[in-house]
């Protein structure tokens, strides 16, 4: 199989979400995964989708070295880390 160095993981993670009322922007500030703290330096894209009646928010974000796909389940308000990658081909 060819592919980018993507790891599909789907594990619960701790995320800090911040809201700026002046800019009306919501963005994750940091994520803790595998006992390590990763400050988010860039939100690439935010989108949403529905599975049944549950709305999920997807934040595609980057730390200095890694990419994280973070999913917020709006019914439980729990976060999951669905994917990480380093942006390099394998």
């Amino acid at each position: 199989m060819f592919g980018i160095m993507i790891q599909k993981i789907n594990v619960p993670v701790s995320v800090s979400l911040s809201y700026n009322s002046k800019k009306r922007r919501v963005f994750p500030k940091w994520v803790v995964w595998n006992g390590r703290f990763y400050p988010i330096i860039k939100v690439g894209l935010h989108h949403s989708y529905k599975k049944g009646r549950v709305l999920f928010h997807v934040f595609s974000v980057a730390s200095k070295t890694l990419f994280f796909r973070l999913i917020l389940n709006t019914e439980t308000l729990h976060w999951k880390l669905e994917e990480i990658s380093d942006g390099l081909p394998d």
Binding site: L45, G52, R53
Partner: protein, 420 residues
């Protein structure tokens, strides 16, 4: 029909704008993941070596990676190529964001596909900024409001066809106009195959009457174009190239269908049955959600030796229940004279009727059955697709018939609503 044979280029100021999201899927992936920016990326249907490349990034295109190439060939040309699977909701979300921005300028907005829009600004107050001014503003707003990596090519002209042609002149991130003032210079620089709709066969037709360049095409008298195309198409080209509108019709939905390219070769109807069930379930749900019934079922089978068989049948009674549709489609599958490994299976319903009530029957409780179907649909809507499914479907691999973006049309986007 009266043919006007002495038309010059449309003298009106251009009001049509074509907007094309550059390398759509790959650009959106690069927007989402900043670590991919500036790198050759390809979004693919399947990540396996035989998978098809759907969208190479601008960087990958520069290295020779093209749409439709196999992953293994793309990797051979560009060993550093980053391969990504599709993420349909990401692209739908960007499409809807673009649609929101563009609808600030006109109500006459037509999405042509997931990555293409046409706007007609004639008579709208936004026209006071000028077409080029609006084009620049839209580009800037997309960068600010959707993402700084997202670029669009904007084409402006007096009809849909030339606006699309203008958007293809400078990719990526172009902004061009074709009008009565510059069409001659632009046509001079183009080849016949640069025109959308003119590929090998039409080029041959045009060559047969002595047309070898776009300027020849423009200057050709109508009788010559009629001789080349042997139909009214010649007149349509006569109007298109002169900037008169001929393509502003809106297509209507005539069918609902789903298809699936099989990762492994299956042969018998029994082996294919679980996949057919899933395709029919997905299609039937979409059909009912849109408030339709269907009077016909069509099955298409592509084989691994690249041969193709298909058959469609109409019925006196409109179908509503996926199980009924499945039975008809399964019977069709048995009619195929071939027993060969299948490459792709496609099922569709046609003869759509927008009707709430169905014909009652003497020996069959139609209403009771429809209530059951509606109850199942509600459960699937509440808890997610395939929560309730026919038992047959469990025989298929869970990954079969994944969510996909339809190319060349946005009818599927009618089915999605997003609140942001």
């Amino acid at each position: 029909m009266v043919y006007q044979t002495n038309l010059c280029f449309n003298p009106e100021s251009p009001t049509v704008m074509h907007i094309d999201l550059n390398s759509c899927f790959a650009t959106v992936e690069q927007q989402a993941n900043p670590h991919l920016r500036g790198k050759p990326v390809a979004v693919v249907a399947y990540t396996s070596p035989g998978g098809c490349i759907l969208a190479p990034s601008v960087e990958a295109k520069r290295l020779g990676v093209g749409v439709g190439m196999r992953v293994r060939d793309g990797k051979q040309i560009c060993p550093g190529l980053i391969i990504l699977p599709t993420d349909p909701w990401k692209y739908r979300s960007v499409h809807l964001s673009l649609r929101r921005i563009l609808s600030d300028y006109t109500n006459n907005l037509t999405p042509k596909s997931i990555d293409e829009f046409v706007l007609n600004l004639k008579g709208y107050p936004s026209m006071s900024k000028g077409m080029m001014g609006i084009g620049k503003e839209i580009k800037e707003r997309i960068r600010q409001e959707v993402g700084e990596w997202i670029t669009v090519s904007v084409g402006i002209s007096s009809n849909y066809f030339l606006a699309k042609l203008a958007s293809s002149l400078h990719k990526p991130d172009g902004l061009d106009e074709i009008s009565k003032n510059n069409y001659n210079n632009i046509y001079r620089r183009l080849n016949l195959s640069d025109l959308s709709g003119i590929k090998f066969r039409n080029t041959t037709r045009l060559n047969s009457v002595g047309i070898f360049s776009v300027l020849d095409f423009y200057n050709a008298p109508l009788w010559k174009l009629k001789a080349a195309f042997k139909s009214i198409t010649g007149y349509y080209w006569y109007l298109r190239l002169r900037g008169w509108e001929i393509d502003d019709f809106e297509s209507v939905r005539k069918s609902y269908g789903n298809s699936y390219a099989l990762p492994k070769a299956l042969i018998t109807p029994e082996e294919l049955s679980p996949i057919l069930t899933k395709l029919v379930e997905k299609m039937g749900f979409r059909l009912r959600q849109a408030g339709y019934r269907a009077k016909g079922v069509h099955l298409g089978v592509s084989y691994r030796d690249w041969s193709f068989w298909h058959k469609g049948v109409s019925f006196p009674r409109a179908l509503y229940d996926s199980r009924e549709i499945y039975k008809k489609a399964f019977r069709l599958m048995y009619m195929s004279p071939y027993k060969k490994p299948v490459r792709e299976l496609a099922v569709s319903t046609f003869g759509l009727l927008k009707s709430k009530n169905s014909q009652l029957e003497l020996f069959y409780n139609v209403e009771k059955n429809e209530n059951l179907v509606e109850a199942c649909d509600e459960i699937n809507e509440r808890w997610g697709n395939y929560t309730l499914t026919p038992a047959k479907m469990f025989l298929s691999d869970k990954s079969y018939v994944p969510d996909r973006i339809a190319f060349g049309g946005v009818k599927e986007l009618e089915e999605f609503t997003i609140t942001k």
